[in-house]
Symmetry: C2
Subunit: 445 residues, 2 copies
Amino acid sequence: MALAVLVGATGSHIASWLHPETQADASTSIEWHRETAALAERGLFDLFFIADTPAARTSNLAGFSRMPLYMNVLEPLTLLSALAGSTRHIGLGGTASTSFSEPYNIARQFASLDHISHGRAAWNVVTSANDFAARNFGLERLPPHGERYARAREFVRLVQALWDTWEDDAFVRDREAGLFFDPAKQHPVHHEGKHFRVHGALNIERTPQGQPVIIQAGASEAGRELAAETAEVVFSSESTLEGSRAFYRDLKERMAKYGRQPDDLKVLAGMPLLVADSAQEAEDLHRTLQHLIHPDVGRMYLGMDLETDLSDLPLDEPIPEERIPKDANHHKAFFDHIVHLARVEKLTLRQLYLRYERGRQTLRGTPMQVADRLEEWFSGGACDGFMLTFSLMPGGLASFVGKVVPELQRRGLMRSRYEGRTLRAHLGLRRPPNRHVAAQGAAAD
Amino acid sequence: MALAVLVGATGSHIASWLHPETQADASTSIEWHRETAALAERGLFDLFFIADTPAARTSNLAGFSRMPLYMNVLEPLTLLSALAGSTRHIGLGGTASTSFSEPYNIARQFASLDHISHGRAAWNVVTSANDFAARNFGLERLPPHGERYARAREFVRLVQALWDTWEDDAFVRDREAGLFFDPAKQHPVHHEGKHFRVHGALNIERTPQGQPVIIQAGASEAGRELAAETAEVVFSSESTLEGSRAFYRDLKERMAKYGRQPDDLKVLAGMPLLVADSAQEAEDLHRTLQHLIHPDVGRMYLGMDLETDLSDLPLDEPIPEERIPKDANHHKAFFDHIVHLARVEKLTLRQLYLRYERGRQTLRGTPMQVADRLEEWFSGGACDGFMLTFSLMPGGLASFVGKVVPELQRRGLMRSRYEGRTLRAHLGLRRPPNRHVAAQGAAAD
Ligand SMILES: Cc1cc2nc3c(=O)[nH]c(=O)nc-3n(C[C@H](O)[C@H](O)[C@H](O)COP(=O)(O)O)c2cc1C
Ligand SMILES: Cc1cc2nc3c(=O)[nH]c(=O)nc-3n(C[C@H](O)[C@H](O)[C@H](O)COP(=O)(O)O)c2cc1C
């Protein structure tokens, strides 16, 4: 069972930074990240993962100044490179958007990270979904979803071509012959596409992993197709076992038309966790966290999913009927859930935000309960492993490493030590042959 | 006297990788870079510097496969971040081109490096000068020189504005008040320029240095103006004391019209070195290196500066008169020097490339001779310090650290330990106040 951890500073709970157990300045502390990466490595995780949005909010600051996710963060590539030296085994994955960068720069930086980490780099390919990010890059708003994915596809395939610029043994460094590289083993890219034109060779040799691992988390039709064609790790975010199974089957089936085997791609199911020694302790901690939510944040948060502004409403009264919109434009399920709590349970605004949990519900439970759930999903064909998030960091991860990992090992679901030296080895992903080399069992192209 | 070292793997001599003392795979070895940075730090250098061109050659490979500079390198930002953890004091500077990146990404990555290194980041702003690099980024060729510098100016000023997005004390992280940052201390950038449009806030707080240090090495009129307006370190590359003095005076005089003090910018004179225990040893090592140059490289090298193709000519005969072009288009001084050696000294092609040294001649000498030259230039008003390159690395740097540094210390020209904790402190550069804060002695803008 593959395990990744999504590291978002103080934790995935929106009020986590207010909990005394967390370090409020974690998001920009390299020491905090080094310690957290070391912890994940002690837990024999496959992947340490940093998500990203290249932007900070500039509006609704009454709420966002109290719920600071992604407002103030280290940039993923520089952060992961810094962690390469303080870790030895764990994979180092980070997000970079195909909407706001140049393929040559992305190809170089992830290749460089793969060399620096001796084969542990992974790139999470995202198209980004925020207009406020687009405005940092010369655009009024994001291009439409389909266009973003068309660009992403061209981008990824171009980056992969750049990674194959040099055959694995191109740099002979033969002092007797005075030859640093064999010119016949350089294969410049000549790409003229709809979004990019690149004519050149990458200025870094092929990497320890052959190519850094490609991650994606697209859920839409276009997202799944891109994943089926190019991804090697996919983060899924279905909330039920059945939904996750269906996603898993769907994605693996799509791969055949791209000439890929199901095993060339690992699906890691997103799993938000809150682990405690007893079920009661878990509930107590959850309640503590919910009560740390500032009313402004609660209102903003609900308002986002109810798709209306609630900032002027009193906290201790129900939402007036006329303030509830007719229907949702974005997240129908979230919307309906809030409307139910407001209309049927007649909760006040305060009761509502204390009760409401956005999106996927956190699994709260004992180490045994958590292990049971992971085993159920893994053995039930819902995934090849998990992308874990923890309400509190690094506390949640520490509990998991200390209490759940041993249980998973006992059940034969997890390694007892790292056997390989690269992220591909950990995940059981083959090292891709260079497309310019006709190898046994691999066709040249 | 400020000291920087330009680290280009095996050394600045074109045949350095063939010398048995160097490590042929240095350019992609993170271990090699860690050791070299540690050495420079033992020598109390201010700055460890990585130059860059975002491209590998794809033509003339008969020569370039034997002279591999920049064909296969770690990318500067990922490399420097990785070095932040293995060093504690030395500044970490790297090149990024304003012709091929997005200001928001550059602002973030250098800000992140400044946080990760606790105040040691520096960005060398270049416009790039290679068409083969432009072809990696959708262009047929580079825009004209003036246009590149206009873009560079807009780029740098925009990055500096992004670095001032947040006041130094914006992130209060006040748990009692539930306030992560003070919204009044966020100052989004609203920029609509000729080359860039950016509306947003940087998603990382102001850095330990206030802003990373800006380096430039432009020599042209446009380059000097940009430096006078924005740079805090300038690498000069004059070959004579007099020329260097004139450059120094010229640059510092230009600063007044931008409201800057001469001391706000440090000029580091480029100084290529080959240090040995005796003058004879230095000459011997130089001769050894010259003889390691492969004839294909010698021919290509001469051909580049003579601005003609010499690849078909026999090595042991003079260059036929009719193959010498009428005049130079690029480097008149280099061209004239070669023509002189060919016509007047009547050297054969082989003798010529063994004799010829491109550009600035390497200072070869004993530790005492090197210290004398540095003192002469420094005390003579030619510079505020030096950007050193060594024919062989890390050997040359090791000799310098072991033998020249103590002599400079004895003369009172160098520190005996690091006193400050940031690159700005080492260089005696003030920490720039945030433009949005009216401070004593600093005007708001
Ligand atoms: C575990 C996980 C991590 C993600 N990380 C990022 C991220 O770092 N940056 C980002 O812009 N989107 C991120 N996403 C969003 C996805 O890339 C994707 O945009 C989203 O799931 C919607 O799917 P679609 O793009 O196919 O519409 C993440 C999603 C998941 C499930
Ligand atoms: C010490 C030194 C380091 C330099 N590093 C780079 C570099 O890393 N990348 C680059 O493209 N140019 C580099 N340059 C070139 C300068 O940025 C500049 O383009 C050149 O000196 C010509 O000046 P001009 O641009 O004003 O015409 C360097 C120059 C010097 C002297």
